[in-house]
């Protein structure tokens, strides 16, 4: 066995990352969270669990994913070398599968035959449905009605995989409401149900556990960067942040290095139509501290504590909060979080596609935009690693719709000054 799950100094034993995190949930769930925490600690120390997880990550998911020098994108930016950590090469198309397989294995080990999940873009739902099919578990996925519309392909994939997709029409009909619904299901069926949470959010131990399962991304980067550049630590790392699981997966293995050895860590938040427009999902730039889905974090909420509906072009970033560990990184300056708009992401998606032949997910495109801007300010002997969190197959229909819309607007007849006849 060679797979080890990393150990980090955060959170504390109460599940706090500084003042963030915790367990703000109905009392019904507290014993289940204690049970999960105990089962997770036992599993991560059990060679049988680690061996099985390692085997699946290698043979089923196809890990390690590549660290690929994007030559034409690097030339385009004209600065540091841009490397892409190819989570899009994973089976099912995104980083989500790393975490889902691990949690599904844990569910099976705990004797829970029914798993539930929430999904926004559908990637976590597909990954959960896939893991459930592989391990013979019953799977129910909660998804907002708006996201069901935006992500029809993934909805079909989940159904094909044997999962039941439950449409959520409360609130904004997006990811936050799907998460509420999944938690309510868990409160009701807690004795025989395992909740496969899809990001580094939710009550303790989820933010820590999901981070540990996703840390394989950053751990692989160390080895691959060493082989390619002769040193394990890149100069900068950029990743998009919805809840923050792909970003934590690539950040955490570097975030606890001493400050002078730490790479620049940049998380991109979905700024939608611009942070000042009020139509965005940028929780650090445009939110303030609050509690959602069991954890204290930066949150889009009004001055009376009602959650403000987020907006993003990408269903997977359309979440009003951000994982508690990211909140701590932001507060302590370990990482920076920058807003990227819908339009910038749409441009970056086309840029990467044209220059590298890789169609990224709309989520990932937010990171591409920031990475190009950053690389431009750096030296050619420096490196930027972008977490290519997922591929764009799921988004092509939505992108086609958005680009067609733009074209229609472009083509709209411009008012002409009437001709004056003499």
């Amino acid at each position: 066995m060679s797979l080890q799950l990393p150990t980090y100094p955060q959170p504390d034993e109460r599940g706090r990352f500084g003042r963030f995190g915790g367990r703000y949930v109905p009392e019904t769930l507290i014993p289940a969270l204690d049970e999960l925490q105990a089962a997770y600690i036992e599993a991560r120390n059990d060679p049988a669990f680690l061996n099985e997880l390692e085997r699946l990550l290698k043979d089923f998911v196809g890990r390690p994913s590549g660290l690929y020098l994007a030559q034409r994108l690097t030339e385009h930016a004209g600065g540091a070398k841009i490397y892409l950590k190819r989570e899009d090469q994973n089976y099912t198309g995104a980083h989500k599968i790393n975490n889902c397989l691990a949690q599904a294995l844990l569910a099976k080990r705990m004797g829970k035959g029914r798993v539930i999940a929430e999904t926004g873009a559908g990637q976590h739902g597909v990954a959960s449905a896939t893991a459930a099919a592989l391990l013979g578990l019953e799977c129910i996925v909660y998804m907002g009605a708006e996201d069901i519309r935006r992500q029809a392909l993934n909805v079909f994939r989940m159904k094909l995989l044997g999962a039941e997709v439950r449409e959520v029409t409360s609130g904004t009909s997006t990811l936050k409401d799907a998460t509420n619904e999944a938690i309510r299901d868990w409160v009701t069926n807690v004795r025989d149900t395992f909740y496969i949470l899809g990001s580094v959010v939710g009550p303790h131990p989820y933010p820590a556990m999901v981070r540990d399962f996703q840390s394989i991304i950053g751990e692989e980067v160390k080895v691959q960067h060493q082989a390619l550049e002769g040193r394990p630590v890149p100069d900068a790392i950029v990743a998009c942040v919805g809840g923050g699981s792909n970003a934590i997966g690539i950040f955490a293995p570097f975030a606890y290095l001493p400050e002078d050895q730490r790479p620049l860590l940049i998380g991109t938040e979905a700024a939608g139509e611009g942070v000042e427009s009020g139509r965005h999902a940028a929780s650090v730039a445009g939110g303030r501290i609050g509690v959602l889905h069991g954890a204290m974090m930066y949150l889009l909420n009004d001055d009376e504590g009602q959650i403000v509906p987020p907006h993003s072009i990408s269903a997977g970033l359309d979440y009003p909060g951000i994982g508690p560990e990211h909140c701590l990184y932001s507060e302590t300056g370990v990482a920076q979080y920058v807003p990227v708009t819908d339009a910038q992401a749409l441009d970056a998606l086309q840029l990467l596609t044209r220059l590298e032949g890789i169609i990224p997910a709309l989520e990932t495109a937010h990171a591409i935009h920031a990475a190009v801007n950053l690389a431009r300010t750096m030296r050619p002997d420096q490196t930027v690693v972008v977490n290519l969190s997922g591929r764009g197959d799921k988004d092509v229909a939505e992108v086609m719709r958005l680009l067609d819309l733009g074209r229609e607007q472009d083509a709209a007849p411009t008012p002409r000054t009437p001709e004056v006849h003499a």
């Binding site: 915790g22 367990r23 703000y24 949930v25 109905p26 009392e27 019904t28 769930l29 507290i30 014993p31 289940a32 204690d34 409360s170 609130g171 936050k176 409401d177 509420n180 938690i183 309510r184 409160v187 009701t188 069926n189 807690v190 004795r191 303030r288 501290i289 609050g290 509690v291 959602l292 889905h293 069991g294 204290m296 949150l299 909420n301 009004d302 001055d303 009376e304 504590g305 009602q306 959650i307």
Partner: protein, 270 residues
């Protein structure tokens, strides 16, 4: 049991007295719940008045956008109240108005985010000013925030935390000892709502455990919907909480006062 209490705050004293009065009448305390601003901000006071005419304690919910512990009935009521402009501060203003007409203790049910957003100290100040006697905090296990209960006490109010059928003996002890108003025992694993055939068979064992530690009265809620289920609960509990049934009644245009009277009558202890 309730007679030997030494309440810590005026709010706790009023809540305990309400339980004691009901007990003298051979009843479990009847604690109806209504979402503030439901069905509309204008119509809510009349609904609340009808409930207050029967209640030993009234529970008023701050409508919240993301209620983790609620089923569809209360969730939809919250959405409707929010759409009508009722949220945190407005709820406290509505309570203040009810207070001017009624002596019955009023407790606020709220998720923690509205408290944090307004600022815990400011929230408590506003609640005290409105005449709130206690707080029920469905997403705050007492060990998550040790300041909230202290702040409530500082402002004359009691706090109520919840236990569930899944609670271990250690959790029951921890939660029971933290409650200063009453202890709220959730009858089923689940969210609020009036499920068909929601069996209350886990309640007696849970209450026996709770009573070993609670120095305050113990009320039971979730799934109680009529005189019959109230009567079952009243055999083992000091209080009976009924919520979704009243929202359904308002929605159906039924006489809320009559339903409340019938459930209150069901709360008989023999």
């Amino acid at each position: 049991m309730t007679a030997t209490l030494t309440p810590t705050t005026p709010g706790a004293a009023r809540i305990h007295a309400a339980f004691a009065r009901a007990k003298q009448e051979g009843r479990a305390a009847f604690i109806p719940f209504m979402t503030a601003g439901y069905p509309t901000a204008q119509a809510f006071p009349a609904v609340a008045d009808a409930l207050l005419g029967q209640a030993d304690i009234l529970e008023v919910g701050i409508p919240y956008s993301d209620p983790l512990g609620d089923g569809p009935t209360i969730q939809r009521a919250s959405e409707q109240a929010l759409a009508g402009g009722t949220s945190t501060r407005h709820t406290l203003a509505l309570v203040r108005e009810l207070r001017s007409r009624h002596d019955t203790p009023i407790v606020i049910m709220t998720y923690v985010n509205p408290i944090y957003a307004v600022g815990p100290r400011e929230f408590m100040r506003l609640a005290q000013e409105a005449g709130v006697d206690g707080l029920i905090l469905p997403d705050l296990p007492p060990d998550q925030d040790l300041e909230i209960a202290d702040l409530a006490a500082e402002h004359g109010m009691a706090v109520t935390f919840l236990i569930a059928p899944t609670s271990t003996p250690a959790r029951v002890k921890l939660v029971a000892e933290a409650c200063t108003g009453f202890l709220y025992a959730v009858s089923v694993t689940g969210v609020t709502g009036t499920r068909e055939g929601s069996a209350l068979n886990e309640v007696p064992a849970m209450l026996a455990l709770a009573r070993q530690h609670a120095k305050v009265p113990v009320a039971v809620g979730f799934g109680v919907k009529d005189a019959e289920t109230a009567a079952q609960v009243a055999q083992v509990a000091d209080g009976v909480v009924v919520g979704s049934a009243f929202i359904n009644a308002v929605k159906a245009g039924q006489d809320v006062g009559a339903l409340a009277a019938s459930i209150r009558a069901g709360c008989k202890q023999n």
